[in-house]
Amino acid sequence: MKLAFSQIDSRATALSVKDLSFSYGGKKALDHVGFEIQAGECAVLLGPNGAGKSTLFALITRLYDARSGRIELCGFDIKKQTSKALGRLGVVFQQSTLDMDLTVMQNLDYHAALHGMGGKFAKQRIQQELERLNMYERRKEKIRQLNGGHRRRVEIARALLHKPSLLLLDEPTVGLDVPSRQDIVEYVHHLAKDENIAVLWATHLIDEIFPEDKLIILHKGQIEAAGSVAEILQQTGVATIKEAFYALTQGTQE
């Protein structure tokens, strides 16, 4: 079975969002949002609560349908070529989406089946991903028995099972202790750097940003700034990301 990851070249656009707007009833959640993420790039979507991060993720994963604007994953329009686009996407949602009464292995088997993987190939992929996250030994344990950090690792392994070109993470470190957070942040950056996966990481925790990351600052449904960390600091004329964030979001407190 061929998987998408190997097909993407090192400079391809993994995610392209153009002129995206979305409203809940009369309330505008996203207003003409647009940005691109290249393969191998780790983009951090930074925004206070209510900025529109989860809505943006729901639109990229097509849980919601964008009425205006366009979203492309590896060149596939999410609206017109939904299956092809979703096949290149791995997602870790903010809320855990694992089945608590099933084991680690059963959860991953289920996901492999949903992505058309079966037999030895699926088992091999599950083993590879779990071993990389040091979770293979715990494959027979029920999710309910795992702590928050380990559950997140299983979710990351699951999101990578079908070798996606784009990995979406919606505040994946919320509620985790410092070492677990650190592990996940470093692992995801390694994926972008060494495996050429494009990452879109939504967070409101500034210490999760690496100097080489791309920053997208979302506030009240609009992109206030997008670029490298250095570019944003230069643009705002401040010394730290924290100051830049406050300057761009007009003093919004977390």
């Binding site: 809940y24 989860s54 994963t61 919601y64 088997d109 996901h111 089946a113 949903l114 992505h115 058309g116």
Partner: protein, 268 residues
Amino acid sequence: MKFLHYWRAMWGIIWRECWRFVTQRERFVSALVRPLVWLFIFAAGFRSALGLAISPPYETYILYEVYIVPGLCGMIQLFNGMQSSLSMVYDREMGSMRILLTCPLPRWFLLLSKLLAGTAVSILQVYVFLGIAWCYEIRPPIPGFGWILPALTLSGLMLGALGLLLSSFIKQLENFAGVMNFVIFPMFFMSTALYPLWKIKESSALLYRLAEYNPFSQAVELIRYALYGQFNQTAFVYTLAALIVFMTLAILGYNPSKGMMTRKGGSG
């Protein structure tokens, strides 16, 4: 390759549903206790109160217990359909519905697979119930156990589709009590599950009409006739039509551009 993908995904969904059912023992037991209480207690008490004339598909006078068995098979499927709907709302609240809906397959196929999984579970329950009823001396003709399978599949799909439709409208688990009061009870009591149509007609012409057009009545009649080796065409067509309508509406309900999903709001 694409076919294999669909096949694996469908079995993955059915396997997960069956596994969850098997591991939730209390759900299995309660699914059986409900119809057995009706059979052993309610029907025994009403045996003499309700006189039943000979009416198709029965060829002789029958006991009340015999009459309500197909209705109780329908009840198992009705509750199972609603249980599946409850599990869909639970899945959505817990987030696992998102994983299903973001996999690279058409949404109608995913919902259909969910529906098939729920129906498979309900058929299993019905056969266990019929086995217990057999020990209680309620013995339909043996071939009826084979004929009933396609009827149960259709009725199970129809009631499951109704559950799916409801789950696309129910926002939270707490609202599920409303489904019990406004859907399950009226559908069950306003049907031919517990009493034949002509009995209802004696009391109220309006109730008679409502019961006649109740899709659950038609599903019960389909099962009743099939259990006695007969085919009720009207019930078949009506149940099939109800399945198509409910399924179409459920797919629309889960469609990201037309359905309810976008009205629920986001958190961030």
